[in-house]
Amino acid sequence: ELTVSSWVAPSHPTIFAGYETYFPAVAKASGGDVTFNLVSGGALLGGKETLTGLGDGVADASVLALTYNPAQLPTSQLVAELAMLSGDSLAVAAAVTEFTLLNCAPCVDEFSKQNVVYTGSYATAPYALISKEDVTQTGDVAGKRIRSPGGAWDRWIGEAGATVVHTSSSEMYEALDKGVIDIAMQPAASLKTHSLWDVADTITLGSFGVYNSGPLLAFNKDAWMELSAENRRVLLDEMADAIVATTEAYVAQNEDAKAEAADHGMKVLDKPEALETEIAAFNSQDIASIIEKAQDVYGVENAQALIESYQASLAKWEEITASGLSGEAFAERMKTEIFDKLSENEYGL
């Protein structure tokens, strides 16, 4: 039995969709050899200390948020800086997973140095601006305080002349209510999950991209090595389904919240034209500053090649979703393109 730690509530898509898919599937495929005991809600490890705690063996597996650990995972969390490139959740999840597992040797090494084995990332629904006042162009956020999860969004906020605030998502409600922040950068789903529609008046949907820095279930390396090769194969084989289930649950939650938003007095601004143009302009010149930041702040070399490799993956998977692939078929595609290329006798050992 593997102890799984997560600092989020059971109502979070990683748990009710991702783990609910993954745990029974693994138990079944391994013939009951591998089962899981989930300790959720941060009763074991909080977000910030999860990476080191997982490496130390406090838990055998856990969800991660790379943005908490830029010093330990400088290369892997580069994708956070590229979050605004795409709002196609499934394609992003697949691209980040493929990039990290197959095309970024330093990423896998970084995890290994932390005594952790990476096995794939989910992606959230597209981020939006949740605020008291309308936002139709970049100028509207100048001088405002914006809660952001980090990465690319911090740079956009800075460029827009606004201020970044990093509060935890459980403090957003009070922060917005008390005016500690003016805008929460969050998927529309949080209108409902965090009751933000009680304290905000407007939501601006835009091409802000999705959060892509969440390994769905990373393993402690010792625990990973102790498993038999067959069981490691099972863990890898079943991962794609869980990633797709999590990501699709995020998107579904988001659609629900968007549909109900008006009933709660929210004004929904869907991709205001001026803002979209400005975001596109930002994205086109942003790559240069990412490469600079990667070198200066994170100390990552050959950032350009890595970024190009990620962009290639992203383009490939965007084409696949554009062809109408989703759900099980998409997971099957992820499995053949990514997980089948990993050897249970080599990977993570």
Binding site: G41, L44, L45
Partner: protein, 434 residues
């Protein structure tokens, strides 16, 4: 030995260590460490020890506590609180135990601006307890009043605990907040009634005040206007949405320093002492909280959530579930920190509530009330420790626990009312949710 038996052994060992007068932090911490070592081995235990203490301390959400402590100590050192009991005496002289009752009122007011019970007890403790002791109030009544009244901090909105619950249970915070208002007021009312009755039957508990004319009443007010100004500015700022609790504490402390220097009642030396006392209190209280957080990890490793699930039968009626939950929380609240208890239990309790068709708003308010009671139950009661810490040697810790006893009784009545009449929780939210 199965893991739950181990937990019971651990709690037994904890009681023995505490009875031997081992510092609370050490008793909690050692029991947690040994328990984890037996249960999950050296590697995982060491992992917990590496990360938990620092991670627990390095948190923005707890930063309001030292700021409000500092504000309280500065107000006290600068003599801003001196006039306070003259005012209470002048205005509440018709009530037996007027100062204690007005402290409950003050704490309720304070609760409506801070989200933390510990911060509430800390700030009120430094202001109100010395005032009552100097006035000749029974020491146990004085300290019990503030330790208990402080528990309204997380019940009366805003409240960190209710916020966390809302996120976990996915219920609207606004409905939860408004649902806790009447239970908060009932709590205050019960405390006040209890004080009133006790003082009526035993007048030696609180000195009766002379009759005062209206001129003197306003005169007394005049003397304390700086404090009132401070309170209005700080709390008004939070109400108006200008700043958060931590920010209010910081601004309040700075303003108190400025007023103290302007009135020439605060010296550099006194300010230095206030700062020293603030950090010493912060350190002593947080070390216990850190150790309690370690014990929570032991409970998590031991699979305590599953055990709780087993305790609550599948075919229990909603009433029985609420009562069973109250007992579980009473026991857990004796030893663990409130937020830890909630993180530990909600994942299993929420589905139970949903199956039994118990309103999640109602359950949230009840759980918060139970967690608050845990802050004053022996042997580990954070609010009791806070009060003990701010009054230093004037009262012993067992006296604080004894003083709290009567208030626990009042809480039993409050909980009975909330269980008998769920409308006390659900009526206000029903008005806003339509």
């Amino acid at each position: 030995m199965d893991s739950i038996t181990l937990v019971y052994w651990a709690l037994g060992a904890l009681m023995i260590l505490l009875a031997l007068r081992v510092p609370v932090a050490a008793a909690l911490g050692l029991v947690a460490i040994v328990g984890m070592y037996i249960l999950v081995g050296e590697r995982a235990t060491w992992g917990v020890l590496r990360s938990v203490p620092h991670a627990f301390a390095a948190h923005w959400s707890l930063s309001a506590i030292p700021m409000f402590l500092f504000m309280g100590y500065v107000c006290f050192s600068a003599g801003l609180t001196d006039g306070l009991f003259r005012v209470a005496r002048a205005w509440l002289n018709f009530l037996p135990g007027g100062l204690a009752i007005s402290s409950v009122g003050g704490a309720a007011l304070f609760s409506s601006v801070t989200g933390s019970s510990v911060a509430c007890a800390a700030a009120m403790g430094k202001i109100a307890v010395p005032a009552m002791l100097d006035r000749g109030y029974d020491a146990k009544l004085a300290v019990g009043t503030i330790a208990a009244a402080g528990t309204m901090g997380s019940l009366i909105p805003p409240s960190t605990i209710l916020l966390l619950y809302a996120v976990f249970a996915e219920v609207p915070v606004s409905e939860l907040f408004i649902g806790a208002v009447i239970p908060g007021l009932i709590t205050a009312l019960m405390y006040a009634l209890m004080i009133l009755m006790r003082v009526k039957y035993n007048p030696s508990l609180a000195p009766r005040e002379m009759s005062v004319d209206w001129r003197e009443r306003f005169l007394a007010l005049g003397e304390t206007w700086p404090l009132f100004l401070l309170v209005i500015t700080v709390f008004g700022g939070i109400f108006a949405g200008l700043f958060s609790a931590t920010e209010a504490g910081a601004i309040g402390a700075l303003a108190a320093i400025a007023i103290g220097f302007a009135k020439r009642t605060l010296s550099w030396r006194a300010l230095k002492d206030a700062a020293f006392e603030t950090i010493r209190s912060t350190s002593a209280i947080f070390l216990i909280a850190v150790a309690a957080a370690l014990l929570t990890r032991l409970f998590a490793f031991a699979g305590f959530p599953d055990y709780v699930q087993g305790l609550i039968g599948e075919d229990m009626s909603p009433l029985l579930i609420i009562i069973a939950v109250s007992l579980i929380y009473l026991v857990l609240g004796m030893f663990l920190d409130p937020i830890g208890v909630m993180l530990l239990t909600l994942p299993v309790l929420l589905p139970i509530f949903e199956t039994a068709d118990i309103s999640l708003i109602y359950a949230g308010v009840m759980i918060t009330k139970y967690l608050e009671i845990g802050l004053i139950t022996p042997p580990v009661g954070l609010n009791v420790f806070v009060i003990k810490n701010v009054v230093a040697d004037r009262v012993s810790i067992s006296d604080v626990f004894r003083g709290v006893g009567w208030f626990l009784l009042a809480d039993v009545v409050t909980v009975a009312i909330l269980i008998a009449f769920p409308a006390t929780v659900l009526w206000l939210p029903s008005l806003i949710s339509g």
